[in-house]
Symmetry: C3
Subunit: 224 residues, 3 copies
Amino acid sequence: MGVLVSVPGLSSAAVPVTVVVPEVDPFAVMNVVGLLAFAVAGALKAAEAGLDVFGVSVLGVVTALGGGTTRDVLVDRLPASLAATWDMSVALVGVGLAIVLIHSIEGRVRDHPAFLTTDAVGLSAFAATGALVGVDAGVTSFGVVILATITAVGGGSIADILIGRVPVVLRDDFYATPAVVGGLGFLAARAVGAPTGVPSGLCAALVFSVRLLALRYDWRLPRV
Amino acid sequence: MGVLVSVPGLSSAAVPVTVVVPEVDPFAVMNVVGLLAFAVAGALKAAEAGLDVFGVSVLGVVTALGGGTTRDVLVDRLPASLAATWDMSVALVGVGLAIVLIHSIEGRVRDHPAFLTTDAVGLSAFAATGALVGVDAGVTSFGVVILATITAVGGGSIADILIGRVPVVLRDDFYATPAVVGGLGFLAARAVGAPTGVPSGLCAALVFSVRLLALRYDWRLPRV
Amino acid sequence: MGVLVSVPGLSSAAVPVTVVVPEVDPFAVMNVVGLLAFAVAGALKAAEAGLDVFGVSVLGVVTALGGGTTRDVLVDRLPASLAATWDMSVALVGVGLAIVLIHSIEGRVRDHPAFLTTDAVGLSAFAATGALVGVDAGVTSFGVVILATITAVGGGSIADILIGRVPVVLRDDFYATPAVVGGLGFLAARAVGAPTGVPSGLCAALVFSVRLLALRYDWRLPRV
């Protein structure tokens, strides 16, 4: 979990001093960012839909944990949401944040920049976790892109279905598309041998940029 | 599966007589009770929604098997609904019961005490099975509560989504909340070392009481 | 993957000639047929629902891969949709076909014979794959019938839920019923020791016939 680094300048005389620089696990970082962002986004969506505090909490938690749980079930892992208390705790913190934030949002939540940006952050981070888990589980390159996409859009889609809406993934062309682009970026970075953390970072950056550009310029795919 | 008990008073002369007292498996009991209750509740719900006998059977079976199947998939087990004929058979008996019962229910099914009580029984028994499986699978305490809740509300939620309704778990504050309370009670009983059967019994009793009290006094959680 | 067959008439003098007759894997055949048919049916359904090219692709792919992925998750296998690029590629070919076909269909897609026949082909082929995987996974006879049914109706049901419709499995009595009949036929053929390929072929033939007869003569099950 850490790397021992010798820092010669800090060592006095013959005693070597070693400083533990924590090695950052790309999955852990992306996971926390995604959980927080999606818990906030899901809870805001639920509040807009007129649910009470319980419904808001359930929808926040489901949005945060849904994508990752689907991902873990698909690759035959005990879902992180059950195997550790961490995911659930982070999701509840996100719900709490949303309950504080909700009163400062004016107008339709789902068009508000704060909501859209938070949701895009969740999408980006979870696409990266899906790609990382896919590589770990030994799925094909196609499988990595699919897992990145399902992990990214899964939680929000389950939440939409629960409140009786057609999932955003079907209404908005550039909701799943950025995750597909991010998954491809992840594969490209791995193919050229990028060091740990770079593929997932590139993936998240691509998802985030494509999503925000699509929102800003109202991108649409052609009709059939 | 059984305990050999020597009953000295029954033995004549030198021949010891042993009577096999069946050891009751808490999971098996809760599972049968839950399957029956939810099959009845699901089928009644489907009949109210105007489905025909096939739709009524499907919805009854899905309500009965849905929560447990989700639970088993989450902890990486072959679902009991596929590994044994027992679950399916019990669910079909429940559907049969519901078809007999439906004509004696007057007024809106979903507000009828018979429906609400049956549904509360299913909720209680399945919360207990979820907690038991969670402990078996070695999930965290948080995971035990989540599994209890998902197992309890899973079947009914899938059924609601199939007939195009917002799941009751999102409409009614005290549908999932009793399961959460029951899961906590289960953990507390285990923590103090209660003998086999007590944690699950307490869990079911808590879920049932909280659910019926909430219905009786129309409990609601505060709005955000 | 092949069978060596000695063909004496083709051998000149003392040199025996052997011809490799490729042994057909029943699962592979049914899988490709089902993937293609359901990708077309799903994409047509999406186009009728007014989705754009991305939504059409997503719904086609989900309809094609949904049932098999659910089947694999239930029996604790890494889904074929992630473990191999084949399934996804075939599904995308099906989507392409549908985009070409859509303009030649007049009137309501969901009542068009081309749509109904394609959908029935998918239903038949996937029921067979479900039964085959069930036997492989060692589930009960009941489980084989359930897996055949879930695999057959799973993709279409997920697609219907995504576009906010009550799934056809609940609206039409003879959508899941043919799959149940096919599953029973599969078991019967295995019970009498039919050679490889016969049980799955019989299963598919039964599903297809019952489905088309039900559509032709507007069969319905009795109301409760």
